[in-house]
Assembly symmetry: C2
Homo-oligomer: 394 residues x 2
């Protein structure tokens, strides 16, 4: 009567959702302050004041029909020019407005890109640990997703395994750095090697293999450079979001960059326009298009995330956990204290520590802890992590 | 290298787009004030002041994390309760928040609904003249769209032809009243007959045939009742938008109503959630969710559209055109003065009258004139329509 597939996708609860709902229920029993919910990646730094001021200024200065009217599907041309200039200023690139397509956040950006590129039988490749919605989005285009196993010592790339997985059907590689869930940033060395492999394999198979850089966490990085991928590999498409940098996840605003250097730019950009049409993108929310242009170049204070990350990392190391050091985003991805990460996370729940099993991100034997929560909650949680670790020493 | 289908959908210009771009070019040659662009359906009544005030109040009163944060996918639960109550107040229905799913406008609402309901081989039926994007959206789900020919004397429904088209594969009927492009409102008599046919056919084929009511123009109706379809037929799903009622087309905000009375409510609502997920809806823009709740029950002044509609209608009738009287929306759909509506619209361009051929809406021999433009532009256009008509009298 309805699409069974859509019904299943709409009603089968994700592990994160199940944990989150358990937390809400448990908070009613023991009090909000006694729940240590590390499950959800919702920014807890408020949107900066300059965003509020930009909205009010736009409403006071501009004609409502211009503020709230349709824009062309790729977004307000003037906004795209401003954003392109800001990207050029930051990364030394040479983009114009025509290289940008403004979207409903990074989720919109990646889905549109997947659908634009995907032909029947295509394969996309990503690296564990990875954002689980990639699978759903890629499969909805008729393509399939292959996952390269994690390099668990530093969460860079296992190049030997990666190269084995590339075939004539490989359409694109998806990378996400700073990474959800590992918090790791791909080093320049990793990116250079990745570009080398993709250049060689594109030549071998006689068609371009695209590199899709999903980078909503670009601005959340702690003293490490986040290489700008189009500078290393021509066939790179960047998917960006203001969800984290300006704390606007609910507003659904981001963009796609298609550099001129991408093989057959016109075909790729045209297909992106078609995919956006079929996915009923229409246009990215118009007021927030204007807001991001007014706020271009401004920086939000992200120091809370760095402080939280260090606090949680040091506490976990002290308690005896093994964990790759946080470099960005707002997640830690430590090893679970028993091989079965589901069992481990279940055991942590006894202490009201809500953690997400690594298996959900294609990387068993680990767990994800989101630290975009109150610093105080993290402080109070550390003795509990210690108790939990002690259980395993007995 | 990319999806050829997406490339085609993204680059093949629609007739409306081509006419609009011609108009922009022509305006540079002869001046904006000498172009009579009746091609685009972009509201020209500005968003009401209460929308601006609501935005400012929300920004001043609420925590930015609550304003701009993710909401659950179906939308802020409190907002849904407020909207449900407002619908109940207006139409005597009995909805709760759980019956609503807030979307990115009506385009988002209908695509999500199509994808939720559609199984391979399904057929959807709509009535000419119709919004041409229906075809693209329905086909993208793997289903097909059948179009019942127009009843050109009053643009109600040719029931005999409609009944012939219903088969065991018919999944849903799409209606759009007030109608784009005809400006006609389906009478209560039409709706009652439609409900009767669908009830009988659902029984005959032993499965529910859904009725999808796409109603972004509900509030733009001139002295006629727009029947609320769930009151006439149980298996009705309503797709609504604030694009026209609050002049917010660029903000992408609307909703789906799934009444409890719909056969297997849980299945339908669950499939809608799944379709929204696959279409990367994530959540409708969060600030505007709060705005529509604050503005629920407030009415925008739409009198400009009524004034424009009468002015254009009377002028065209006087010039000798045949046209069904405007009842709502902001379109007239007169007969072209020669059977070939493309040739007619081409001829009108000589007078810088930009009109859209009816064939684009599945109804040849007609043209669409959008009157959501300056009243003064309409006044100045009337002598030109007269001259155009006189050409055909020679």
């Amino acid at each position: 009567m309805v699409s069974e597939k859509m019904y299943e996708l709409g009603t089968k609860k994700s592990t994160i959702r199940t944990i989150f709902e358990y937390g809400r229920k448990r908070a009613l029993e023991v009090g909000e302050e006694n729940i240590y919910d590390f499950s959800i990646g919702n920014p807890n730094v408020p949107a900066p004041d300059f965003v509020k001021q930009a909205i009010i200024d736009i409403l006071n200065e501009m004609d409502p029909c211009a503020v709230h009217g349709y824009t062309v599907a790729p977004g307000n041309p003037e906004v795209r020019e401003v954003l392109a200039k800001d990207i050029n200023r930051r990364f030394g690139t040479n983009f114009a407005g025509k290289n940008l397509f403004i979207t409903g956040g990074a989720a919109g950006a990646i889905t549109i890109t997947f659908k634009a590129l995907s032909e029947a039988g295509d394969e996309f490749i990503t690296f564990a640990p990875y954002f689980p919605e990639y699978k759903c989005f890629v499969e909805s285009t008729g393509a399939s997703l292959k996952v390269v196993p994690a390099k668990i010592d530093d969460f860079q790339i296992q190049f030997d395994k990666f190269e084995e997985m590339i075939t004539a059907k490989t359409k694109a590689i998806i990378v996400n750095s700073p990474n959800n869930p590992s918090g790791v940033v791909y080093s320049e060395e990793t990116i250079k090697k990745l570009a080398e492999v993709l250049t060689a394999k594109s030549k071998e198979y006689n068609h371009p293999i695209f590199l899709i850089s999903d980078e909503p966490y670009r601005e959340i990085a702690y003293g490490v450079d986040v290489p700008y991928l189009p500078k290393y590999y021509d066939n790179t498409i960047v998917c960006y979001s203001y969800s984290k940098s300006f704390s606007l996840p609910g507003e659904r605003i981001g963009y796609i960059v298609v550099p001129d250097e991408v093989a057959d730019f016109g075909k790729v950009y045209g297909a992106i326009a078609g995919a956006a049409r079929v996915l009923t993108h229409v246009n990215a929310p118009s007021l927030f298009q204007l807001v991001i242009a007014r706020c271009a170049g401004k920086e939000s204070d992200m120091s809370t995330y760095e402080k939280n990350g260090k606090l949680l990392y040091n506490g976990l190391i002290e308690a005896g956990f093994k964990c790759v050091k946080p470099q960005g985003a707002f997640y830690l991805f430590p090893q679970s204290l028993e091989p079965d990460d589901y069992a481990f996370c279940k055991r942590a729940q006894k202490y009201d520590l809500l953690l997400v099993p690594g298996s959900d991100f294609g990387c068993p034997g680990h767990f994800r802890a989101s630290y975009c929560i109150k610093t105080e909650t993290i402080e109070k949680s550390l003795p509990l992590f210690k108790k939990l670790a002690e259980e395993y020493k007995k």
